[in-house]
């Protein structure tokens, strides 16, 4: 494996990890609203969250370009407030990956939150626990498997994201060229087949690793609960 290939893998991991970590709390909040609250526009929120899943990725990428590009309203805002630019940077790749992964994060978290028995939360309240404590000691631990499943699914999706990324931040080696984009570029050149295959094997290993990690963590959670620890 060449140094360039290693750099591509590292960049992809960085992009996917950043995307997952930033999207996770937001996805949890949205999942919570959808699972627990009744409000006007709930259907609309549900639709917007699902949009990246059903829209052509290129369209999502173009939308991001309009909103978060150097001239876009949100792009300018982020630049002014946080000094954060997205256009043609790895941060933009992470944003695109995060947006595309979002629906996949929300769904399992929402399902696991809906599966938490509200009666248990009520019982915790009768035992004197404040809302935030009830959340931390009852709701969150019981929803953790769903949270984990969502995170792994989101991470895998972020790792493989292609259409929105290439539209939004282009295919710049060392900056926005993640695994999928690099494989695509290599396949375009007559001599790139071997290198492309190597990267494909790496993506398989990364995805497999993520799934195994989540399985193991899931088992740990279930076992950690039995109080012998």
């Amino acid at each position: 494996m060449t140094e360039t290939e290693a750099a591509i893998i590292l960049l992809s991991a960085k992009v996917a990890l950043a995307a997952t970590l930033f999207a996770l709390p937001l996805a949890f909040a949205v999942a919570w609203l959808l699972a627990r609250r009744c409000f006007v526009g709930k259907g609309l929120l549900q639709a917007i969250v699902t949009l990246p899943l059903v829209l052509p990725p290129v369209a999502t990428g173009y939308g991001l370009l309009l909103l978060f590009g150097t001239q876009g309203p949100l792009g300018r805002l982020m630049e002014a407030v946080f000094g954060l630019t997205f256009a043609f940077r790895w941060t933009g790749a992470a944003l695109a990956a995060g947006v595309m992964a979002f629906p996949l994060l929300v769904r399992p978290i929402r399902l696991s939150l809906e599966a938490v028995d509200r009666g248990l939360e009520e019982a915790a309240a009768t035992l004197g626990a404040r809302r935030i404590i009830v959340f931390l000691t009852v709701t969150l631990p019981l929803a953790l498997p769903g949270l984990l499943a969502g995170a792994v699914l989101g991470f895998a999706k972020a790792l493989g994201e292609f259409g929105a990324t290439i539209t939004f931040v282009s295919n710049i080696p060392g900056q926005t060229q993640t695994l999928s984009l690099a494989i695509y570029s290599l396949l375009q050149s007559p001599t790139g087949d071997a290198a492309a295959l190597r990267l494909i094997v790496v993506s398989i290993l990364l995805a497999l690793g993520a799934v195994l990690l989540s399985e193991w963590a899931g088992r740990l959670i279930r076992r950690g609960g039995d109080g012998r620890a």
Binding site: G119, A124, A125, T126, G128, A129, D226
Partner: protein, 361 residues
């Protein structure tokens, strides 16, 4: 120790509930059929449902007052709640479940954990997960968890209803232990006469969302129950015979003798006398194996098909005898007549040691 004062009215869905009663330390049963509104009343006291008007005061502390705009949240009401289903936290060990109110609810450390664990026989289960326990064991943990919340009122919503007969029989002694030693008001919701008879000091009968009657278990449960007529009598043990393992119980105006090993002198007991265990004679008899012959006056004769139920007055107390309609006619039983009730069997429903502040009924 103060009691609980409830005077509330409200709605659960389209069902209107209004209730007014007090509960002193000891067990007060909210008794009535399913759907009578008992659980709704309990939820309003716990704070998981909100009455429209009224007041709830526990131990001098106002939990709810519609007029004054006071509505304490569930967590601040100082309650312990035992639900129909155990509602144990499945991801926490029995020990962590039991002590939840302390580490998550910041409740004061009231009773020591080992004491409650011993009371409920949970010594061997502390490190297990709720999912590995039987239904009865789980409900015992739920009771312990509520007791360890240092509650000022203990609310129990049909805690045995989700269990089969055998498990109920397994838990009842533990509930009796809790009832006997508690010094806070315990509100026990049930539609089972048997449970109420064994556990309650006072019964609030609830019907169609309203309090129908309030009184002692003997007064409220005295009538018909599940097709079998029986009466409950309260009394005090005035004599014991260790050799024959019998006890003499003063039920106020009369004494009955029953075989019951281990009843201590002075214990307050609740007795159940089935109507089918009471025969009637027009005059006292000698040479009978039946030792309890009580002189009574007939208050009412009710003929139901081939059977007759005779309501008998024994001083202030009442007994019911079930004989055949033919016998009733042959003996010429009539209201106001003096007869002798021959009591074949008496079962002890509940026995508890007298507290010094308790008067004999």
């Amino acid at each position: 120790m103060g009691g609980l004062e409830v005077d509330i009215a409200g709605k659960a869905g389209s069902f209107a509930v209004s209730a007014r009663f007090t509960a002193a330390p000891g067990v007060t049963a909210l008794f009535g059929r399913s759907g009578a509104g008992k659980s709704t009343i309990l939820k309003m006291i716990a704070g998981t449902a909100r009455p429209d008007e009224g007041r709830i005061v526990s131990d001098g502390r106002v939990l709810f007052d519609a007029a004054a705009g006071i509505d304490l949240p569930v967590r601040a009401r100082g309650i312990g709640f035992v639900f129909q289903e155990d509602r144990l936290f499945p991801h926490l060990s029995v020990r962590r479940n039991l002590t939840y109110a302390r580490w998550a609810g910041r409740r004061a450390v009231g009773r020591p954990l080992p004491e409650v664990v011993a009371l409920l026989g949970l010594e061997d289960h502390l490190d297990r997960l709720p999912g590995t326990l039987s239904g009865g064991e789980r409900q015992r943990v739920a009771i312990g968890r509520a007791l360890l919340a240092d509650p000022r009122i203990l609310l129990m919503d049909e805690p045995l209803s989700s269990l089969d007969r055998q498990r109920r029989a397994e838990i009842l002694p533990y509930l009796e232990a809790v009832a006997n030693e508690t010094c806070i008001p315990v509100l026990y919701v049930s539609h089972e006469t048997e449970e109420v008879a064994r556990l309650a000091d006072k019964v609030v009968a609830v019907e169609a969302g309203r309090v129908r009657a309030v009184g002692s278990p003997a007064e409220i449960l005295g009538g018909e129950e599940g097709g079998e007529t029986a009466v409950l009598l309260e009394g005090r043990v005035t004599g014991v015979d260790p050799h024959y393992e019998t006890a003499t119980v003063d039920i106020g105006g009369a004494t009955v003798e029953l075989s019951a090993p281990g009843l201590p002198m002075g214990a307050r007991v609740r007795l159940r006398v089935r109507a089918s265990d009471v025969a009637i004679a027009t005059r006292p008899h000698e040479g009978l194996s039946i030792r309890n012959q009580l002189s009574c006056t007939i208050e009412r004769v009710t003929v139901k098909g081939s059977a007759a139920e005779i309501l008998l007055a024994l001083g202030e107390k009442r007994l019911v005898s079930r004989i055949t309609a033919k016998s009733a006619e042959a003996l010429g039983l009539a209201v106001g007549q003096r007869v002798v009730a021959l009591v074949k069997a008496v079962s002890v429903e509940r026995a508890r040691l007298m507290r010094p502040d308790e008067a004999v009924e």
